[in-house]
Symmetry: D2
Subunit: 345 residues, 4 copies
């Protein structure tokens, strides 16, 4: 018998990606998907890739029924308002929004500029990045989503932090380039195709909210994220600049990166001497859950450039969420996430 | 025990897509992939999406070993030179090239401007479009590939032809818009990104070779294909203009299109009154095997516009080939072809 | 002393392009640009390319002052409401909207689905395409704009119609592919970058309003426009399919197309045997006022494919409008329109 | 009487852009453009935007005749081989290649990995960036071109260096994102549209040759350039990360950036609180010679992010070269460079 699941907020891009994954997941059965603005419409009218794959229609959120697992894919701020209700509906909850990613209410307030509505729940959630919290996730009831940019940054730093190779006295700069799907299905003033095509637009030099997740998860304090929009729909690339400790060599880095790839089914090291794809590139990751990592070290001064490419809607959102689900349920971690990505695309 | 398969010509885009599908196919085991220019390299160095999914290296074509099924994915003209050798290696052959698509040697010569090297083999091949030859494919040993543009055109016309709705005294114009992957991994003079980006380039007004496949398969004589390159990597859209017989109504067309969708697991009808995706669009088909069909009829004059969107590397090449494989082997037709496509992308 | 000009509706894409052209025009002085939603803002805050070129701010339309020439660049329906007032402000008016393009009120109502608010003014306007109405424009006080798609279609047909080469008993199909700027600065539901990128989307099979301008200006009755959105910001390509009279040869067509290029400074014939740019392509026309024409004739059946590429905001809107201005003022036709376009781009 | 000019190496992208500018320049007359591979072809067959603007054909380099000014736009390494010959042909030479950008032969060898063929000429050239060498250029006979990425980096740093605001003990990281035209008309393995579209590809983490020009011109030693290819044809954005001296405020930076804009006709400051274009974006610079600068300062730690957007073929190559020409000839600096750029595009 299949595990039942419903999605609250199914008409956005994160919700659509979750639907795609869960409809194809061999052990899940999707019961409901809610959307205030599309009640009664077929989900394939909003997510046209799902045509002929489901006859599900969007429900009103007020009509949610109990299920085994509830995914929340609403705009930020909603989940914290309704978490008590949701907890009545399902023993396991995975929330893709930013509401339960940070462990500390004061830290949340600092970065989000508002008091958290359910601070007592912050401690009940596990941060939903399996590469960082695999063991805890196996026992978790409540799991947060991850910020897509935070994930690109965190995974870029992961091998260096884990192997303790970083000189933490130097500040860390993470340059992140992102596609347009990050702005969501509503978009913003600059999301119109005629304005958004062909851009290289640094829209945030410092202070992006996802920085908080890098600080919390990597244990670094001096870190900044610089965000640049480029012409692409899906995909994010983090180029992290840091210093390694004196004496650290390229060989040490190879060891650390290979270990990350060995320990994590969705981490790959991309560092080739020839060919077109010598370094990570989100181009080939659309729809896949891989995080591709690469690096370069200037041994003369310890400057390391660590690169991470992801699909922001997969490893940066719905893909990691389903990976967490698999861990929570005790299933194979890669279940339903086998799609390899396309080349060319 | 799995069915063994090798791919001759595995480094091109068609070969890469086949590898992606066959490596994930639950009943297939890939033994070899050949490439003259990449012997000894890992296939993931050429097809970066396959990293961590296979440790296969490209072989020299001279080292091919016997297998259950042989896929040929070489440039046009190769398969007809070596078909006798290949037939020694495998009881079942699927050739993606243009070499065995046409049934008649004179017709081949007319469209390809050269004598066919193995005319006696033309009659042994079944044209590899399941929507047209499902029953024959189940019994076939040798199956041809399909032209991607021909497939877009043929499937646009299929419901109309099958339901005998067309006024065949009027000529048929098929306007096809295509992405850059059609030019192949070698490309041509105009394939450089700086020259190919942002184009709307009608590169062939008449006489495209794929026209021959439309004539042969649809039984129409007055038909022309006009080819326009647009800025996209994967995808083709055919907009076919034709006349229906007097008295044919929109209702008749709905019936014909719905029948096509009911009879064919990878055919969908896309014709909505609202929403963004009201008509077929290859944008959402990357990696999927669907052919999305739509139509509009001007009842005042019988002008019908029939639209078909496909991923040229999937339904227009490797996807149809694997669908044929499934039919030849007596397996579920959709096996290994379940990927839904992405939204947004 | 310079000729004074103001622009009503200066914050849209057409208005912005007019501003760019008029600010650089050696004989014009821009007095005002209006915008209801941007009153008081610098025009360069909306049209960032104008930064450091003008310190003009948007005015409220109620504050318009008399000028020599008034350009109207409002959404359709506005100009016909206010034409009497505008005529008090300037002796010469050029309206880019659809309001005064059609000569006949009933024909307007048929295509626009509403009664015209100022039918008595329809006869006072000259249709603003210099390639069709050069002599009349020299004497005109009131000039309409042109539909961008109509212009691509009209110029594709121009050489054939003018040289009387068409078999008018056969219907004419014009397939038009367009960039996203056609949807305007407000866009529509499908204009979000994540939805609009990578599309090949046939959004209108028949009945596009610009068809009316082709019927009126070309004197053809059996003509349809099929509109397909592709991934590009600026540019439109018309591929017109028609029949030539019996006996018409490729040589006859060369003569007709060369004549069109000789008579019109912004018409070029693009028909090469080699190179990358063998046929018209809007890619290289961004910002230029050229209409590039090409053709292919199948002498076996008289099927002619005539192609026209334009920048929809230039030759299809603001560029033609400034060209009309030059003619109305008795100036060199190409004044202020010398930009060649870019390669590559 | 016009000043005569010829272009050596006119078939590449830099040469094409020069041709576009010089053909439209009111005081220049183009005599010859050379190309080894296109001898006898019309220049508009290679640069299709020049159709109907010139009947010039490409000459063989051996047939160059004396002129007032000679532009060299060849691949790197050619100019240094032939500089003595070229100096016989023209009293003024502007070389777009990398051959004469560096003042020191040893420094050249360090970065280019080869001995310079004409080291005695290095001292005769002025570095061709008017924003840095305006006075010297007025008296120069020989002027080098500029590296496009170096120019983006140098102009990003210019206001900070000139106003002595930088803490030079901290290293400077310059993240540069570039379009595909940087790879030139020949491209490289990764330049095929199907491989180059949709990329975010960090192809060089350190050691890019243009770093040498930043070191030389800015007088900084600890500086690195990280290069990332994104999906765009024309354009480069530099995001420079540095530290300001203790106590430096945002107000100080405003003063420095405004000074740069006041002193330089092609420098603009883009730093808005609202609207879509709040920061520099090369999207709107195609064809224009502007360098748009912006900045953000984190006053808490002195981290400054300085941004510069350019069109790599204009301000980063041909545009700066023509600007140098104007200065060398004593003409208005902006002559022939008035194009404003387009919006939208």
């Amino acid at each position: 018998m299949k595990t039942t699941v419903s999605i609250v907020g199914g008409s956005g891009y994160g919700g659509g990606e979750l639907l795609r994954l869960l409809l194809a997941h061999p052990r899940m059965e999707v019961k409901q998907a809610t959307s205030r603005s599309h009640v009664g419409e077929y989900v394939y009218q909003v997510h046209p890739n799902l045509r002929k794959r489901t006859s599900l229609r969007f429900s009103d959120p007020s009509q949610l029924e109990p299920v085994d697992v509830l995914f929340l894919a609403q705009p930020h701020g909603q989940a914290q308002q309704h978490i008590e209700e949701y907890a009545q509906l399902a023993p396991k909850i995975i929330d893709l929004s930013a509401d339960f990613r940070l462990r500390d209410a004061a830290f949340y307030e600092k970065w989000y500029g508002a008091k958290h509505a359910a601070p007592q729940w912050l401690g009940k959630f596990v941060y939903g990045l399996p590469e960082l919290h695999r063991a805890e996730l196996a026992a978790a009831k409540y799991v947060s989503g991850v910020g897509c940019n935070a994930t690109a940054g965190n995974l870029a730093l992961l091998p260096l932090v884990k192997a303790q190779l970083l000189d933490l006295s130097a500040s860390i700069l993470i340059e992140i380039k992102v596609g347009s799907s990050e702005a969501g299905a509503e978009g913003n003033a600059g999301s119109l195709h005629a304005e958004r095509a062909n851009v290289i637009r640094t829209f945030s030099a410092f202070g992006h909210r996802h920085t908080a997740e890098v600080i919390q998860e990597m244990g670094v304090t001096e870190v900044s994220l610089t965000m640049t929009a480029v012409d692409l729909v899906r995909g994010a690339l983090a180029t992290a600049h840091a210093k390694v400790k004196p004496g650290v060599t390229t060989k040490d880095l190879w060891k650390a990166y290979r270990a990350a790839a060995n320990e994590n089914p969705f981490v790959r090291v991309v560092k080739e001497q020839r060919g077109i794809y010598r370094a990570p590139d989100p181009k080939i990751l659309a729809g896949s859950n891989y995080a591709d990592l690469g690096f370069e070290l200037d041994e003369s001064n310890g400057h390391v450039v660590s690169i991470c490419a992801i699909d922001n809607l997969m490893k940066g959102a719905a893909g990691s969420a389903v990976q967490c689900l698999n861990l929570m349920m005790g299933w194979e971690e890669t279940l339903g996430l086998e799609f390899m990505g396309l080349h060319p695309i």
